[in-house]
């Protein structure tokens, strides 16, 4: 299955994505512009029906969004990563593919300040609405 997935992915996005095998999760490193179409492809063509986890990592000059997507109950799993520039932290929302992204994207927005384009209700979820700053950013100073 993973072999077929690899071939199809490279056929569609050769040069734009990087594939790492041999890890716990089959890893796809992609660009934020094609993230949505790639995820749509994973869902519609390969039946990845379950968005297990998503989170952001602050690497200083850039953010990386990390998605763990599975097909259940067969338990096929991929990890998709996309870099976002720090000065324009935007990426497409996946809520219309998997409603599971709703709360999780709000959490990333709240704590890391990444804007999800197309999210139906992008508001802070854990912190109060008048809170300033995004605590999980590395430059956030906790008093």
């Amino acid at each position: 299955m993973y072999q077929e997935l690899k071939e199809r992915l490279l056929k569609n996005w050769d040069g734009k994505i990087e594939i790492n095998e041999g890890k716990d999760f089959f890893e796809i490193i992609t660009q934020s512009e094609i993230l949505f179409t790639l995820m749509e492809f994973l869902k519609k063509e390969f039946g990845f029906n379950y968005l297990a986890n998503l989170c952001g990592v602050d690497y200083g000059e850039k953010f990386t969004m990390v998605y763990h997507v599975c097909r259940i109950p067969e338990n096929l799993k991929v990890c998709v990563k996309a870099d976002i520039p720090r000065d324009n932290p935007e990426i497409d929302s996946l809520t219309c593919l998997w409603p599971a992204a709703d709360f999780q994207e709000r959490e990333v927005y709240d704590l890391m300040g990444i804007v999800f384009k197309g999210h139906p209700d992008l508001k802070r979820i854990l912190l109060p609405e008048d809170f300033e700053g995004h605590p999980l950013r590395k430059d956030y100073k906790a008093v």
Partner: protein, 366 residues
């Protein structure tokens, strides 16, 4: 036809049936629910930020405070994630003891589920029975770790202490009595006509929606999907045990309730097998005093907690502290489905829906 306005009622955060600090802003048309908005964060402690300023070992106790109702499960998940980062193999005896503790935690959590569900829908007596029995598990945790509720018993590479002598008779008599406890719950609750009327055909969560919303654990299985990480992707030594994954058919509150009762039985099966095969030997692997995983190493490790898929995503920068630690909390994501299953139902069903989704807010808010 009488026309009426919608009214908004705040269920929680200060309400006994909201299991901590859950706030459900509910829009009602008469008694029927038009919409529910879930507000979270009342017990947010920024655990993920704290992790970045603690060493890998120092962070262990914070895990027990996530899901404090199943204290050993998050700690086990975290320790295993770090062990995966380091490539440490845990001694056999420690693995068995971990499984025994994890399954006892699951039973404790499910007993609390049954008890709190009972009290939420008005059967106060049910709570007393479940708490009485859960207390015996708390006693066992106290014997092994000195702590009842938030035991930090897991260590990176194994466990803190070996089992004391008095643990064995305690767990044996508990397992012997467990069928009678379940009989009592069944007589008191499962066979109760009022409970059945309240739970059957309310809060229905169809299988496809459950998957799309990322629901996991017993709540997903209640909708008929046989997905249990202990089976699908066995961690620790779960592949050695013979147990079933119970599934429901409809995904209503009743299925979610039955799932817990049946999972208690399965957990007891695992504990019996683990006690029987428990080997002698070391309880902790040799792990450096200062833990520094390789620079750039990362891991996403997930376990089947009592609430669902509990994942730890850790990125290392080669220092003694995690560069980034993210907790995929099942309670948080399961709550996303509350509006969906509540719309169209009655206000009284909302209380049952919250109870059967079984969120623990320490984990949802982190």
């Amino acid at each position: 036809m009488i026309e009426s306005d919608f009214i908004t009622i705040n269920v929680g955060p200060q309400h006994p049936s909201t299991h901590g600090g859950l706030h459900a802003e509910t829009v009602l048309d008469g008694e029927h629910i038009v919409d529910v908005k879930v507000h979270l964060g009342y017990v947010h402690r920024s655990v993920e930020k704290i992790a970045e300023s603690r060493t890998y070992t120092q962070f262990i106790p914070y895990n027990s405070r996530l899901d404090y109702l199943a204290t050993h499960l998050p700690a086990m998940g975290y320790c295993q994630a770090v062990e995966k980062l380091l490539g440490v193999t845990v001694p056999e005896r420690a693995e068995y003891i971990r499984v025994i503790m994890a399954e006892l935690s699951r039973i404790a959590s499910h007993m609390l589920f049954i008890g709190s569900l009972a009290i939420d829908i008005g059967a106060t007596t049910g709570l007393i029975y479940c708490f009485r029995d859960r207390e015996r598990i708390m006693d066992m945790f106290e014997m092994t770790s000195g702590q009842r509720l938030i035991a930090s018993y897991m260590r990176i590479g194994g466990i803190a202490e070996d089992l004391p002598e008095e643990f064995y008779p305690a767990v044996k008599s508990f397992l012997d009595d467990l069928p009678y406890m379940l009989d009592e719950y069944n007589n008191l609750l499962t066979g109760n006509e009022i409970l059945q009327a309240r739970l059957k055909n309310t809060g229905i969560l169809p299988a496809d929606k459950a998957i799309a919303y990322g629901v996991s654990g017993p709540n997903l299985r209640a909708s008929g999907i046989a997905y249990d990480i202990r089976k699908a992707e066995p961690y620790s030594i779960y592949e050695r045990f013979d147990f079933d994954v119970p599934i429901g058919s409809k995904g209503d509150n009743w299925d979610r309730f039955l799932m817990r009762i049946r999972e208690i039985e399965e957990s007891a099966k695992i504990i019996r097998q683990a006690l029987q095969d428990l080997p002698e030997g070391e309880i902790r692997a040799k792990v450096p005093r200062i833990i520094k995983p390789e620079k750039g190493a990362e891991v996403y490790h997930r376990i089947e907690s009592s609430k669902g898929e509990l994942g730890f995503y850790i990125v290392s920068d080669g220092s003694e502290k995690p560069y980034r630690l993210h907790v995929r909390a099942p309670s948080f994501i399961n709550l996303g489905v509350l509006p969906l299953i509540s719309r169209g139902g009655k206000l009284q069903d909302l209380i049952a829906n919250i109870a059967t989704l079984d969120p623990v807010l320490g984990e949802a808010d982190r």
